[in-house]
């Protein structure tokens, strides 16, 4: 059993803890350098403020009603630690996924009432930190994310949904569109909808051969997770062994997922080439993306995912496909990405590859095509990767005109009692 706990509008919620006058009002928190909105209260969302909205481009009417804050990471970091420490009181193992989200591993515990437990977790975080959260509990990580989203959208006042029975899981599957399933990106969603697979429930019922053919083994594992079978084949821990990798920093920052996809395809192809050159095959693949830590004015994001292959491979098609699927899990819009990359691990000699029991795929054609592709690939890198290799902009003092105080870390900033 897993719980996915995430904080509602985290940065705004942190500001509200120490300034209750902000409760119920439209409030936004701006990215470093007061660039754009990275956190919005529900009232701000209702006003029409989009994620990433730029303050000086907003209509005046909107601006007048908004309370804006610069990001105060000192404060948010401390509050995040309090939230995570509170969560750790409930479980022996958890995975902190971001500053405001964590997966809780509840597999060793026998709780009779998971919904009540979820409510207890939410209430305790609220009591300790005054930060509202949503809790999704389900037999797998993908379902827990789904349950969390359901809690947020359908049972907002309670904020907790435990999919502890098959009926409750079915509720989630019927409610969620395929495009809203964690790990199914837009293109796969479009393909599924074209094939009359609209909801997650439809996806669960789709024939395995179809899923394997269209979405490869990663799609199959998603299907398994939605069926309630945890697949440990993806983790957010990087592999420790030495690996074949390919990555590059973009010359100018990238926000468009399609550009990242293009870059990753190239890196994947490069890696596959290296593998074939040394007659090896890779058993797993890691995809990572991150922002530029030296650009203090940018909101920071780093995430990676490791995907286990059904069988070790060095075929470009396989590696590119899995890389794209990995990206679907970790890409988040609204960030200025600096770098993306691939790392292949669990490398074995080509002739020692174990068979995938379920695949009837005949690889001879693909291997022939790959040889041709190798010739093209040599040129690929020069043509497609059109990013300039200029240096980064000079770092400068970030603008922060609306910074709140460090209420929990600086004695001079603690709240004043009149």
């Amino acid at each position: 059993m897993y719980a996915l706990v995430d904080c509602n509008n985290f940065y705004v919620s942190c500001e509200r803890v120490f300034n209750p006058a902000l409760i119920g009002k439209p409030v936004i928190v701006l990215s470093n350098n007061d660039g754009c909105a990275i956190s919005r209260s529900q009232e701000a969302k209702d006003l029409g403020v989009e994620m990433g909205a730029i303050p000086h481009l907003m209509p005046e009417e909107m601006c007048k009603q908004l309370r804006m804050f610069s990001s105060n990471y000192t404060l948010y970091g401390d509050m995040s630690d309090r939230v995570m420490k509170t969560l750790s009181l409930f479980v022996p193992r958890m995975e902190v996924y971001s500053i405001d989200e964590a997966f809780l591993d509840m597999s060793d515990m026998s709780y009779t009432n998971l919904q009540a437990l979820g409510v207890k977790i939410r209430t305790t975080v609220l009591r300790n930190t005054a930060i509202p959260t949503c809790v999704g509990i389900a037999p797998t990580k993908v379902l827990a994310k789904m349950a969390n989203r359901y809690a947020k959208k359908r049972v907002k006042e309670i904020g907790v949904f435990a999919a502890s029975t098959p009926a409750r899981v079915q509720q989630l599957l019927d409610y969620t569109a395929v495009g809203d399933v964690w790990g199914i990106g837009r293109q796969y969603a479009d393909m599924l909808v074209k094939n009359k697979i609209i909801t997650a429930a439809d996806f669960v019922n789709a024939p395995e051969d179809f899923v394997r053919a269209k979405m490869s083994v990663v799609g199959l594992r998603l299907q398994k997770e939605l069926k309630g079978i945890p697949c440990l084949e993806w983790t957010f821990e990087p592999p420790k062994k030495k690996a074949i990798g390919s990555s590059r920093s973009f010359g100018s920052l990238v926000t468009d997922k399609n550009i990242i996809k293009q870059a990753l395809s190239n890196y994947a192809a490069n890696c596959a080439l290296k593998l074939r050159a040394q007659h090896s095959a890779a058993g797993n693949l890691k995809v990572f993306i991150h922002t530029n830590p030296h650009r203090k004015q940018d909101e920071q994001y780093y995430q990676s995912i490791v995907i286990q292959m059904a069988k070790a491979t060095n075929l470009t098609t396989d590696i590119v496909k899995h890389a794209m699927q990995g990206l679907d899990f970790i890409f988040r819009p609204g960030f200025n990405y600096l770098k993306c990359g691939i790392e292949l691990g669990n490398i074995v000699p080509e002739d020692q590859v174990q068979f995938d029991l379920f695949s009837n795929r005949d690889d001879t054609k693909i291997k022939k095509a790959t040889a041709t592709l190798d010739k093209i690939n040599a040129k690929f890198g020069k043509d497609l990767v059109r990013f300039s290799m200029q240096g980064f902009q000079k770092p400068y003092k970030a603008r922060a005109e609306h910074l709140s105080k460090c209420f929990t870390t600086r004695l001079e900033d603690i709240i004043k009692i009149k």
Partner: protein, 147 residues
């Protein structure tokens, strides 16, 4: 024996790995060492829900809360009638005794010059937390009590 910087506890803890025991022999106190008392241990029961506030006003001087006192506030506790609480009301933080009965909620000061507040819904009062300790340095006490 060697001359090395003393960073603390070196001769009083069992040596780990290559760390040399500066005195050359284990201290008789080694097995009995305990953690020193700190202010956190005295006033902070739940660090995850404990926050600090700086008192500026004189409304609670008769309760020993002076301008300059630092209040230790626990946000996780449910305020009970008679507790000293921090409330956010009319756009600012104040410290008062809270008295709750049937349908009424009143905030009492510990200062004859300060009037009690009858809380109404329009005030949008938020109980921010319960004051569990007051830390006042002697300079402040001497200043405020003018003995």
């Amino acid at each position: 024996m060697q001359f090395i910087p003393y960073t603390g506890m070196q001769h009083l803890q069992p040596s780990s790995g290559d760390a040399k025991v500066p005195t050359g022999f284990p201290s008789p106190a080694m097995e009995f060492m305990e953690e020193r008392i700190t202010l956190d241990k005295i006033v902070v029961e739940n660090p995850l829900s404990t926050y600090f506030a700086y008192n500026e006003g004189e409304a609670m001087t008769e309760a020993g809360i002076f301008p300059g006192s630092i209040l230790v506030v626990d946000k996780a506790l449910n305020a009970r009638s008679g507790d000293i609480v921090i409330v956010f009301i009319n756009g600012e933080y104040i410290a008062r005794y809270i008295k709750m009965s049937m349908n009424k909620c009143t905030l009492w000061a510990a200062n004859k010059k300060v009037q009690p507040i009858e809380v109404t819904e329009e005030m949008e009062m938020v109980v921010w937390g319960v004051v569990v300790s007051v830390v006042t340095d002697s300079k402040t006490i001497k200043l405020c009590t003018r003995w």
